[in-house]
Amino acid sequence: MSRFGMAIDTVRCVGCMDCVVACKTENKVPEGFNRDWITEEAFGNFPNIQLEIRTERCNHCEEAPCVDCCPTGASHYHDTGGVVLVNHNECIGCKACVASCPYDARFIHPDGYADKCTFCIHRVEKGEDPACVSVCPTHCMTFGDLDDPNSKISKLVKSRKWHVLKPEAGTKPHIYYLT
């Protein structure tokens, strides 16, 4: 089996949004919407400040509330890598998944279906990295198989300190933020 995930090095990331732009052109995401985004979190008082910059997207959770709540089964786990996907034809645009996602990763596409990051499964199945990963000028993102102990991502997760977003939501997210 495989379990796809991402390790994102917040030490390298500069928050330039190249990942956001690349996703938009690769996946023809319509104007006004995006599947990934940048979050900046600053702590402290001037001049003693800590700033974490993160590129965020669907966490491709193992316990995904958006899959659980989907009335039609359009939201599902893909066979490869456990990627969470939406079958556009089965989606009725009821927005239950949009509301259920603790990461606010979903939106309703102007064509009427729920849309979000697919981990660029169309590229991954050809052996390429997701568009955001492949374009990043800082090489801050590593995509790969967490079930393979020899993959670069597994090694990073083992050797570096990391955190995930909203662990308390119990969704078992698969994007690791290296610090």
């Binding site: 330039c16 006004g32 910059i53 090489h139």
Partner: protein, 736 residues
Amino acid sequence: MDSLSRRRFLKITGASIAAATAVTSLNSVVKGAKTIEEKNGSVVKGIQKIPTYCDLCFWKCGAIAYVDNGKLWKIEGNPIDPLSNGRLCPRGTGGVGASFDNERLKTPLIRKSVRGEDQWVKATWDEALDLIANKMKKIKTNYGPESLAFFSHGIGGNFLKHTFKAYGTNNITAPSFAQCRGPREIGFELTFGDVVGSPERTDIKNTKCLVLLGSHLGENMHNTQVQEFADAVGAGATVIVVDPRFSVAASKAKHYLPIKPGTDIALLLSWMNVLVTEGLYDKDYVEKYGFGFEQFAAEIQEYTPEWAYTRTGIEPAVIRETAREMGKNKPATLVHPGRHATWYGDDAQRARSVALLNALLGSWGRKGGFYTPYKFGLPGYPYPEYPKPEREPADNPGKKYPFAEGELLSTGLREATITGNPYPIKGWFVYATNLMQALPNQQETIKAIQNLDLLVVVDVVPSEIAGWADVILPEATYLERYDDISDSPFKEGFIALRQPAIDPPHDQKPNWWIAKKLADKLGLSNYFPWKNVEEYLDTRLKSAGLSLNEFKKTGIIKRPPKPIYFEDGVQPFFWTQSGKIEFYSLKLKEHGFDPVPKFTAPEEPPAGFFRLLYGRSPVHTFSKTQTNPILNDMMSENEVWVNADIAGRYGVKNGQYIKLKNSDGVISNKVKVKVTERIRTDCVYMVHGFGQTSIRNRKTYLKGASDAQLVTKYKMDPLMGGTGMNVNFVTFEMEV
């Protein structure tokens, strides 16, 4: 100043290159590439990958445009390009939006009412160019050819520059000198006898200690630099950031120095004081290559960290500790020269202080410091000789700014247009630079325009300056045209090709076509012996044993590697008066300037006012990209950063719209407030390029505020005529 140095340097670089040997083989990525000829007539099925190079900024990254069934889809980095290493920056990635932009100029336009009213009649290319050529001929007859000035930005201006040189003018300029990197180049040239250049010769990748002064890499997306910055950070390099604002780069730094704006020279002098008094500088290097070190050392004795503390607000202990870090890591310590350097009017001396600090650290010419770049050195086209202008350029009469050499002062030409001194300037031809935002003090620009008999603007979108034109010529985007070959000085010599991926969607034309056609109408056809741009490019390539057909498949051709560090065999050479690194500058002394930089305290903001600082966003270039629908989607307006304490005191809320009023009473457009801990209390900050006033750009019209509008004051650099623009103070206007 001996302005020959730069030219001489280039000549020698070119001469040392033997006949070209193409070393790059056809890359697998571009195997699917179809030539334009094959494409002609019918839509090519499937996906074509067309190598080209990016034009979203001046970095010129190699790229691959993807065309899907004849339709432009996306653009990626060219994996064999040494600038992008296969990865474009966000602007580059969003570059396809430039072609999709539905607000771009579609046909030539001729003004139909008063200048500046932005009212137009559509014209054919013949009508527009006839009108321009006739006015240009009249200007030549009545005032002489030098009375026409050409303002341009980027490599796209090359062919038009050729037309204007053939016409006989030498008033050819770009705001990128006196409004941007000029002071830096002069400061370095006075010290090392050579400029930093573009792309900057900074070896960030190998540095062990990187010092950034106001340079906000990561927000400022010069692609290779940001890639190398991330590598250096990832490898654990010590980063020292000096900035009144806690930038993204500051968040990666071991030491963040929240300096008082305008006091950088004091900090630099004091760092040098520590290095010298504690004996931490590179003594062998200074002895071998330095000139005037004794006088220099004596002069900087007084600049102790305690002295600097009262000027900069940086604790003496921090100054010492950071100086020691630099000393420890020398010569792989890089004090970055920055790029946009026109801040306070003392900028060439600040740049010289940066250069001197690097000289003490022995980093110039060394690994992890400044490498020695080289070009591919592709020969130029064998054009006939240009007519020799009878008059000197009009930008710097009486050599008021003695070190303004090598490039012209755009503001100087504007001044000549206003005053008619040293002679009248009656025509402006503006290519791809929005002068309304690029030059300080918009009123002066508007005043100058009143004196013109002709103002032509060539651009892709109806920029603000286009609104003032008599004739607007719509250019094809970089994805729809050939341009001149890029041959930048870099770590490796290489050339890059820009070729069209698709045709222009309307009646837009490539600049080479405009330049040639205009020359025809001016009776200068003999200066364009080539039929079309392919023939021009092929001729240049053939002279190096290459061919356009092969080049079209790879987009990049490299030279075999050469040493780039002194320690690897590069022969150190300094084109200064003494032939050495000048710690004490004879030329500055000769012209009555400080031979060793001195610090002068900046003006303080009046009570209730804040210094206006501006900078870059990673998703925009100047005021050029805001209409691009993809990049506009990323950032459609700017914000003004206000320190949280100040916001509390003035009752300004995060996300609230306010206006800014400067000390000359100019009021900005409304702008959203970002209340933040990430900035000092004595300044505010915004990203440059917003608050545009071109009504035909609905996406950008009055979105955010324009720093350029508020930059009514500027402080001239007495050495080289740069315009320091961080000298304006603003206050808050709550009523929007």
